[in-house]
Subunit: 232 residues, 2 copies
Amino acid sequence: MRDSDIPEIRKLDLFSEMSDASFAGLIRGAYVQDFPPQIDLVTEGDPAGFLHVLMSGSAELYADWNGRETLMATVRPVSTFILAATIRDGPYLMSARTIEKSRVVLLPSTDVRTAFEQDHEFARAIVGELAMCYRSVVKDTKNLKLRTSLERLANYLIRSHLHAGAALEFDLLMEKRRLASFLGMTPENLSRAIKALRPYGVRIDGATVRITNMEDLKALSKPSALIDDYAT
Amino acid sequence: MRDSDIPEIRKLDLFSEMSDASFAGLIRGAYVQDFPPQIDLVTEGDPAGFLHVLMSGSAELYADWNGRETLMATVRPVSTFILAATIRDGPYLMSARTIEKSRVVLLPSTDVRTAFEQDHEFARAIVGELAMCYRSVVKDTKNLKLRTSLERLANYLIRSHLHAGAALEFDLLMEKRRLASFLGMTPENLSRAIKALRPYGVRIDGATVRITNMEDLKALSKPSALIDDYAT
DNA sequence: TTCCGAAGTTGACATTTATCAATTGTGTGG
DNA sequence: CCACACAATTGATAAATGTCAACTTCGGAA
């Protein structure tokens, strides 16, 4: 592990409040690996051996069933993933693979559980993190069940716009086929949805999005804090 | 509160391991209410004032957006609901209403957070509960994104069958319109899906389900532990 | 028991979404 | 710079799902 990795990990909400001793105990058993793109880090169904921390690059969490595959989430540095499986000592529910060349720190699940037993601050941080993750997925479910794919796309664009500091021109940050899978639609359908948003003041050229009429877009997408706001 | 309520609450996983003192602190501020059917207990967007414990009856968690409504989960006694909002001191993401006449214990969120700060065993139980809830919703999302409505129905029936002790004849436990909403489809579509399952060895008459050909049903529904098993 | 209203079903139809096939665009390695 | 592989788009069509309206069934209240 690089010396520079450790303070970066320490800064994460999950680890920032725990005792030095517990943190040291966690880091002691950790190891780091650099992965090329498109490498499977985790396979759903496997026992959760490690809590993963993505230090650089990017990864995706996806799920399979009956020959179909869907993108569940994209992970960007620096953040952890698959905490719940580690805590419950259960099988992974999602698979993970790198998108780009990525650097990952692996913390053995047993060490994580030990630290959690011994360090109340860490337990508290885990509670906060899990509650947030849970609420994110609930929002996701609402998004899927209450909205059409066009509405999901429109809201995704508004969220990206806000994420980009409310810029009216911003980047899609994801290949379109990935975005389609994330939004629960086919690439073809996404292509058509993008065209269908033109009358609502949206221009997408390659990976560049330009919003020319926020009023109309908002009238269509009706963003709601209880679905689209990641913070609450 | 009835005397008999307290040991019932104490027996829940969430509360069984905490200290007597912490539990007493929680119960001290609690109060109980009996509600008639179809009464709103919680409205999404409101600040999370209470952790709810359903003692008897039944309730549903649902979500609204843009005039549409969807059933997210059904709550049966004895269990708690809306823990994550309480913990994060955030707004409720779902609304809740009674289905039948129900008895509910209300624990003030501040008391829950205080107990969580002071009692490591309680914190540990919360972590376990939240991790399980999170994993349930992830399975839900996979169910929604990877399966058609017919497949969701087929798998729902198999889960109910297992829940009923693997009986080949069992009860639907829910009005069909509720089931339709839960599965993310219209009542009309559910009606047709039920007929479409007949060739696969399923007979549904009123609220009674009879599975006459488990092979065929399983061949269609392809149940997976990573979606359908609530325990993992 | 009868009646009423809501739930459930059915048919016709509209909309949404997926599938398949062909074509165009695009970024990367030689 | 070119060529290749793959992403993205487009058109045609099919399948899945929703909507609306009519009708039937069922359960509870008078």
